[in-house]
Amino acid sequence: MQDNEEILRVEGLCTQFRTEQGLVKAVDGISFELRRGQTLGIVGESGSGKSVANLSMLRLIQTPPGRVTAGKVLFDGKDLLTLSEEEVRAYRGRNIAMIFQDPLTSLNPVLPIWLQIAEAIELHHKLKRPAAKVKAVEMLKAIGIPDPERRAYDYPHQFSGGMRQRVMIAMALSCDPDILIADEPTTALDVTIQAQILDLIRGLSRERRTAVIMITHDLGVVAGMCDEVCVLYAGRIVERAPVDELFYEPRHPYTRGLLDSIPRLDRSSAERLYSIPGSPPDLVDLPDCCPFHPRCSHAMEICRHTYPPETAEAGRGNRTVSCWLHVKERA
């Protein structure tokens, strides 16, 4: 297998929710591709559609009220969105694994830890229970649980938040997946524990060449973990760039505003923080304008009625931005 071989391609993914207030376009045409060993960051604020996009890829959106209305998710030459439920199940966990923000609600409280890890191994590797158990303990050891032979028999409530997240990672990696989707894996954890978990994910993705999709709202986590970043706003990717270019030469006014509004330890705190005025838009029946225009200091007439096309920017990697300021010829 080649090193920078493309393993996942998402094209024009749209997910909508029918609510009493109206139609919510939670994800509105997202496209990206992922290469082996790459870590892709998906950043956005709450409600920007970052979690919905990833749940949609694995067909985990509850229908109704939600529905994936358009798009393709190409993995291994197959479109996951057109497969039968049974076929998709073979990919979930085996090829694409997920870890969630809250490890306590994602674990079964009445089953011992080893059994929960072994379950996935039995299913995907067709192993018998004793062999799966050995592998489960091995996994616990690999992710740095002290005294794994004994702790394997513990239940989730006997583990601390950081250890539960390690168990989630052990479950996700037990089948050696090609892609690991981490949805805010450290948001519920303290900073020193966050550092442990991020270190673990970083090490594993390097060793096993697992591609990682890192969903987060923390730009600091993105800076330390990702190779490439997609910035989401109101269900669309507004900017996509290699990590250095995004942080040092942000193109979209939203990205720039976001970067300027974080308090930073390495800068003087004497100056006032920049803040983006207003709040994120209500996604119900959003018109086809640039959703950021009410908060944008560069907003022009055209931003108020037409969504800007995706413009490719010159750069080292593939860099795109959706903003009228960067469209050379405006119609």
Binding site: E45, S46, P146, S160, G162, M163, D190, V191, T192, I193, Q194, A195, Q196, L198, D199, H217, D218, L219, G220, V221, V222, A223, G224, V243, D244, F247, G257, L258, L259, S261, I262, P263, R264, L265, D266, S269, R272, L273, Y274, S275, I276, P277, S279, P280
Partner: protein, 331 residues
């Protein structure tokens, strides 16, 4: 430091929660030492930040200062009077001088009250008790002025909390805290529940209000960058004790305590180049249980530089340089 009068002085504050066993005949089998001997003071117009991981006792400290949690021992002296010894009536009068802004803008506002009533409530209660002498018209005028000052449009006063976004709710909470013109604001994680772009709006608002009304802040957060931006001095807490206190810039430039060092190094920086060259101090394990009886330094099990002496001698907070104190034998 003595040119400014001390507004608040906390001496030897301890909050221990009993651990009980038995169903009918309860007996005390131990205690959780949530706050275990905390000393600090606040000068007028100053902002002191309490920072630490979950369970370190920072919120309990604030609640004990506010007399919402009964302290086991110690003194909380606000403007010369010990709040712990006041009669309920006198405590009510003293409460006008200190108000709280809570973390969760969802659960800290009564869902059945209109925004205007929430903000006017403290004024109404104190008028009814005869402590303040305000007519309903004066209260309405004051409420409108507060809403305007906190960036809430005046036509919002008839709306219910669920109609507001998180940032706007936090503005309501801040306006309510300011209603009685307090001198001291206890801000318990006021921005942790907010999105990045909203967080800086609220931080700037609090900073403006501090200047305008000459407010003193006890600011609690787990995010060191937020604390560093907002506060003049920082106190780092670990397992119910303050382990280091210093002026904000000094703490970052010249960190003394190994726990503060680990905490600082664990914070992800929104700067990819810096992130790549940083070396992290990854702490082993989790924070130990605050209920265990212990001797010596509370941090010694996780400390990368612990020596023999740390096991049997508890380090005291001692002045290393002007205004910079650390509780470590080695600093």
């Amino acid at each position: 430091m003595s040119e400014n009068a001390k507004l608040l002085e906390v001496k030897g504050l301890k909050v221990h929660f009993p651990i009980e066993k038995g169903i009918v005949w309860k007996r005390r089998v131990g205690s959780v030492r949530a706050v275990d001997g905390v000393d600090f003071h606040l000068s007028k117009g100053e902002a002191l930040g309490l920072v630490g991981e979950s369970g370190c006792g920072k919120s309990t400290t604030a609640m004990a200062v506010a007399q919402l949690e009964r302290a086991t021992a110690g003194q909380v002296i606000l403007e010369g009077q010990d709040l712990r010894t006041l009669s309920p009536e006198n405590l009510r009068r003293a409460r006008m001088n200190f108000q709280i802004v809570f973390q969760d803008p969802y659960s800290s506002l009564n869902p059945r009250m209109k925004a205007g009533d929430i903000i006017a409530e403290p004024l109404r209660i104190y008028s009814r008790r005869g402590i303040l002498n305000l007519t309903e018209a004066q209260i309405a005028g004051k409420t409108a002025a507060l809403m305007d000052r906190c960036g809430l449009a005046s036509n919002f006063s008839d709306r219910y909390p669920h109609e507001f976004s998180g940032g706007q709710r936090q503005r309501i909470g801040i306006a309510r805290a300011l209603a009685l013109s307090p001198k001291l604001i206890l801000a318990d994680e006021p921005v942790s529940a907010l999105d990045v772009s909203i967080q800086s709006q609220i931080l700037n608002l609090l900073k403006d209000l501090q200047k305008e009304f000459d407010l003193t802040f006890l600011f609690i957060a787990h995010d060191l960058a937020v604390i560093e931006y907002f506060c003049d001095r920082i106190a780092v807490m670990y397992l119910g004790r303050i382990v280091e206190t210093a002026p904000s810039a000094e703490l970052y430039r010249n960190t003394l305590h190994p726990y503060s060092k680990a905490l600082l190094s664990a914070i992800p920086m929104p700067d990819p180049a810096q992130e790549r060259k940083r070396s992290r101090i990854i702490l082993k394990g989790d924070v130990p249980s605050p209920s265990a009886e212990r001797t010596g330094c509370p941090f010694r099990e996780r400390c990368p530089v612990a020596v023999e002496r740390c096991a049997h001698e508890t380090p005291l907070l001692r002045e290393i340089s002007a205004g910079h104190r650390s509780a470590c034998h080695l600093s």
